[in-house]
Structure formats: C-alpha cells, structure tokens
Subunit: 396 residues, 2 copies
C-alpha cells in the first residue's frame, strides 16, 4: 500500500459530514489464553487492534470482515481525529452508502497477528519477561492471521460473515477463511491475489529481507523500539513500492521530470528526478510506522502461502468451501498478475464452487484495488447483494 | 547480465577447437591526453581495456564494435585461460561461422569509460595524486563512453564501422555512435533498449544506489580497494537481477522449489527457496567483480539517457544518422519493454532513416538478448549482410 505524500499541511478539519464513517476509535481485543501457531509454537496470549463501522444487526448476519495487505492495518475507514491528513486506507470503498455500505453492514477490520500497528507481533513484549519477542516470536502464517481474526469475530458475537473481503495478502486471508471456516463465511471477495506466491514475488521479498537483515542495526532482531534497521527497511519499502505500481503509472505521474530546484546540469547522486524524491519519501514515511521484524515475518508468511501445497491440491483446498466467491484481477498488476487471479477462480470452479472472475482494465498496477474505481465499487456492491441479503434492522 | 552459478568445478580444459574464438588476450589502450567529459570536467588521461577477434582487412571496412551493458565488460567472446569456467558473455553470438563471424569481421569490444574491468573509472587512481578518483571522477554519460571508444577505434586504425551492436546500455551506445559519428557507422543493431530511461527504470536504479550509498562502508565513495559497500552492492544486484529476467522464467527455473536440505518445516529467515539461494549467489559473485562507485556512475549515466531531451527531439537526434538500423525488442522484457524499442524504430523511420524493428517472442525477460536464440542469430547474420558487404580478405 502506497504512502501518498502529503499534498498540503493540514490546516482545516475535514468535513466529517461527508459520506464516510466519520471519527472512529480503534479497540483492542485481548485473548488471554494460549494461542498455538501452525508451527506448533505457542504464545501465552495475544491481542488484535481492530475497528468496526456500522452495527451488528439482531440476527447477526450482516458482518463483513476486511482483511488488510502486507503494510496495511485495522484503520480502513474514517478518521481518528478531525485533523488527520488521511482517512483509513479503504475509505473510498467503505462508508454509509458506499460499496461496502456501513448503514447496512457491520464492518470489522483488524491488524493481523504478527503485525505492528497495535496487534501482537515481534515488536510486542512477552507478557512474562516484559522483553520484546523479536525473533523469539513464533513464525506466522496467513492461516495464523485468519485463526486469530476468527477469535476476534467470536468475541464480537459475529456468528456468520456476510462476506470477507481483501486484496493482495488480504485476498489470501479471505480465501483461507472460506476454506477453514466454511459454514461461517457466505461470500469472499479476493482481489489482486494468488493461490501461491510466485518465484518472482518471493525474490522481491527476499531482497527486502536481505536489506533489513544486512543492516547492522538489525542486530539479529534485537533492537530498541525507536531504533532498528531503518535504512534497510526504507530500502525494502522503496523497492516494494515499485512493485505496487506500474511502468505506465510511474511514467504518467513522474516521467523524467526533474525535481524542482534540481539544477539541470546536476551530475551527481543526489535526488535529480521527481521519481527518486517520491521513492525516498515512501521509504522515510514507512520506517516511522512499520517494524522491521514484522516486515520479515509477514513477507515470510506471504512466501509460504501455497494452497495446493498446504492442502495437497487446490481441489482439496477448496472442497469444504461453501461461500460464493468473486476474484478480481487487474490488468496492470505484475506482482499478482491477472493470470494468477484467473487461475484461482478457475480452480474454484473446477472444485464445483460458485466462483466468478472479473478482470478490470487499469494501468495503475497492483495497488489498483485500493484506488478509486466506479467499476470496482459496482462489482463489490452487486456481489454483496447476491443470494440471501442480510436483514436490515431499521431500528439501528 | 546474469551470473550463472557454476554448475560443476572446472576439471578439464574446454575444447578450444570448438567453433569459438579460442584463447584471447585483453589489451589496454592508453590515451595519454586530456579527455573532456560532457559535463566539462577533464581527466589528464584514460585507458580502455579491450579485446579484438578476427582481423582488420586491408580496406579496413570489416570492423564491428560490440557495446556492453551495465554489468558487462570487454570480454565478450573466447576464453582467457583453458580452465575458465565461462567464455566471454556473448560467445554464443560471436565467433568463426557464428552470427558475428570472426572469419569475416574484425570485432572490437571495450570496457566502458567509468567501468571497473580495467578501463578508467572511479576505482582508478588519478595519475598525478596516485589516489583513487572515487567521487572525484567526472560524471559519465553514455556519450562519454562512446567518444572514448571512438578514440580506441581510431587508435586501432578502424576508419569505418561495418556495424555497432549492443543490447540494453549497449544499444544506447550503438545509437549514439550513429548519431555522433554518422559517416563512420554503417549499421547499428540495438536490442532491448530505449530512447530514454523510463521512470520505473530510474526508480530501480535509485533503489540500488540507495542500497550502496546507505551502506556505511561506502563512506561517500572513499573505501579501500578490497573493501567498500559490499552489502549494499549485493542488494542492488539482487534486485536488479530480478529486472533482467521474468516472472515466467523464474517460475520455470525455480518455481517454489525448496533448497535441498532445507527442512520442510523451516520457519525462519534463512534460505528456504531455491530462488533465494540463487539471488544471494548473484549478489555475492557480483561484489567480487564490480566496483560500487562504478555502479553508481553507470546507473546515473543510464538515468540521464534521453535522446529527445539531449538533442531537442528524437527527429533532431536522428537527423545526421546515415546508418541502417535494426532495433530488436523482446516480448517479455519489462525493463526496456518492446513498446520502447518499437517507438525507437518508429522515430528512426519518421526521421527518414532506414530502420527495421523485430520483436522476438521469448519469456526470458530483458536478458533475452544474451541468450541462445537461433531466431536472433539469423536476424543478426542477415542484418550484417545487408547493403555493401565488407571485403573478404582471403589472405587473412
């Protein structure tokens, strides 16, 4: 997910009467029981930071889970303060009257287990020792993320999901929800994702991890909270950012434009091109909000994602699924290319499941799923209407 | 250019009777006069390391210049010793009876100015101070590389080029040869290249430079000969390598195969996948043969390459060209995509030049121009036959 550079300093409060969920508060779900990871490793307890928008209806059948991508978090809609520079990362999709209509749906989004935005992860302290887990944190898989979120949904009194929606790593989570909790989930919407991480995607993740782990400040994962391998993390992020966009979109947005005040005859290694300045900004803002060990853990979870390998075959993986599914690919996504999304939908169909595939033409690359698109909104809106509509509780 | 991992230790001498140029010796051309760069900066002298194969004929019209890419060098054919693990990097294309037939052509290839394989570059010592130039080396452009090679050709008694051939940065050099020395060059063959570096390509270069410059061992370019920012350079190379191949070729070559001896339940950050091991190998072999400052200088030269900007317009740039040109794009090249090659040929045609464009179907990515391809060999062979053939000097 892209960090957009701030366009102007925040001067006035946002118009919170606009059609979004307005001011929201993040909460913590603390699961005070041991949690066993897929690896067999156990932590004595964990917590997930989450947000909800809209209300759970009396029949408890209007819940939608939003699953975030590698660098996302629980804050997917609304504003934390009137002076926030940006709303939640999927604010264009989620809100009253929007594609995911918070007047009708109870929307839940949690920072994943292993994350660093408030949920338990490598940067958290072990409750007994008080020391950060760092590399002593168990190795996390997408399945672990999903199981932890299921415990949160149980805690919230959610007995079924009208839908699970996510892009990229979020799409992987939606798929695993439908596989692991089949009767619990009625619809999954997986965008810009894959049934297995490709060699190229693993390769990019590995370069990012090497940039972090070769930074001396990494210190095998033991670094102070405000320190750590900032340089390596920024480089990992700069590189990853290129994979989230596209040749065409970078060309349109920056082309070969020189940075303002960059002398036209500058023969040096400082910033000359706007695209360089933008990338450096991406790296710098990321290190202020993301933990390097979390980056290692979550990219490894992505690498390990391979449904066919985990369940014997894709057909085996999908056998228990009862949810209807919609898979959406984006033509210019070269991280999880359309073909991988198409194959995913095909495998669901081959397994006798109700699956649709939509391919949206865009030149904005992998991050297309996050960006404004009336076409995508219409798809999401219609998909959520399919089959049994949730009870609308007019008293809410 | 890819470093292939050694498949087996060298045990026997290669069969030098095979149809290649056999044992070759690199030579140094020392230009003992000041050289003025495009930037206006001057060095008191420079040298280029080069190789030649075949013989210059009596009429001196059978010379072909081979121009190398970012990480290439002067050693493009034959073997330095009978026990070399690999021949020169374009040995499949160049040799007796091959597409660039050394029984007919006098082939010249030099390490570029600014390089680190024997030619003068940032790692060279200033002849007066005896200290390495490091960042005191003038900023290099592709034009500077071309002008230095022209001085070498003059020195060798080459009065005209039957052809200039190169891929990637080598293609840029071939283009500039035709523009700057129009009557000197009869044919240019530019593959997997562009008329200007795209924003995405600049972005990848910038991440590589940041990896190097943020490595503390870089020390603003002043590092001991055997030291320097090895970690940063390896990371830059690992990332760049991904851009030289393709999603499909990595998938075929490595897929999700685990490294031999990697326990299947390994939940850690060591090498698990073969593709990780391969990339680390790419990084490690590169740091033993490449200078980090050279990497900065040459990637900056690539970024600065923009024919339209340098000459006012592409039409202006190409106006003086008299050479026939063949531009070759490769379908899976996403660093210098087919479209950029096609546009280049189109601009040559629009300028009234004799230009052809060929697009070869391959799923091997940017490095396709370096790999075995009977289709490419046939194109090269036929292109070199076009128009006035060089005198064949049977006495040679």
């Amino acid at each position: 997910m892209t960090d957009e550079p701030e366009k102007s300093p925040p001067t006035a409060a946002h118009d919170l009467s606009a059609d979004d969920v307005g001011l929201v508060v993040a909460r913590d779900f603390v699961h005070r029981q041991p949690f066993t990871f897929k690896s067999g490793q156990v932590i004595p307890e964990f917590s997930l930071r989450y947000e909800t928008y809209g209300k759970l209806n009396a029949t408890r059948n209007n819940a939608i889970l939003i699953c975030h991508a590698l660098s996302g978090d629980h804050h997917c809609a609304g504003w934390h303060t009137p002076n926030d520079r940006k709303p939640g990362w999927w604010n264009n999709l989620i809100g009253p009257g929007k594609a995911v209509d918070t007047r009708r749906f109870f929307v839940v989004c949690a920072n994943v287990l292993g994350g660093c935005q408030g949920s338990t992860g490598p940067a958290s302290s072990h409750p007994e020792t008080g020391q950060p887990y760092a590399l002593r944190f168990p190795f996390v898989t997408i399945l672990d993320m999903v199981r932890a979120q299921k415990l949160l949904l149980d805690h919230l009194g959610v007995t079924e999901l009208h839908g699970a929606i996510g892009g990229s790593m979020g799409g992987m989570q939606a798929l695993l929800f439908a596989i692991e909790f089949p009767r619990f989930v009625h619809r999954i919407l997986a965008m810009a994702t894959t049934a297995r991480e490709s060699a190229q995607a693993i390769a990019f993740n590995e370069v990012g991890r090497q940039a972090i782990m070769q930074d001396l400040a990494w210190n095998r994962g033991d670094y102070p909270k405000e320190g750590g391998p900032k340089v390596g993390l920024a480089i990992a992020r700069m590189m990853a950012h290129i994979t989230y966009v596209s040749d065409a979109s970078m060309d349109r947005k920056f082309g070969r434009r020189k940075k303002e005040n960059a002398p036209s005859d500058a023969y040096n290694f400082d910033v000359q091109f706007e695209v360089e300045s933008y990338l450096r900004h991406q790296g710098q803002t990321f290190i202020n909000r993301f933990d390097a060990n979390s980056y290692l853990y979550i990219t490894r979870a992505l690498d390990q994602f391979d449904l066919a390998q985990a369940y014997g075959s894709l057909e085996n993986a999908f056998r228990p699924v009862t949810a209807e599914s919609l898979v959406v690919g984006f033509t210019s996504d070269w991280l999880f290319p359309p073909e991988q999304n198409r194959q995913l939908a095909l495998a669901l169909l081959r397994s006798g499941k109700s699956a649709s595939y939509a391919e949206l033409s865009t030149d904005l690359g992998h991050d297309s799923f996050l960006l404004e698109s009336e076409e995508l909104y219409a798809l999401v809106r219609q998909f959520l209407e399919r089959g049994q509509p949730p009870t609308v509780d007019h008293s809410l």
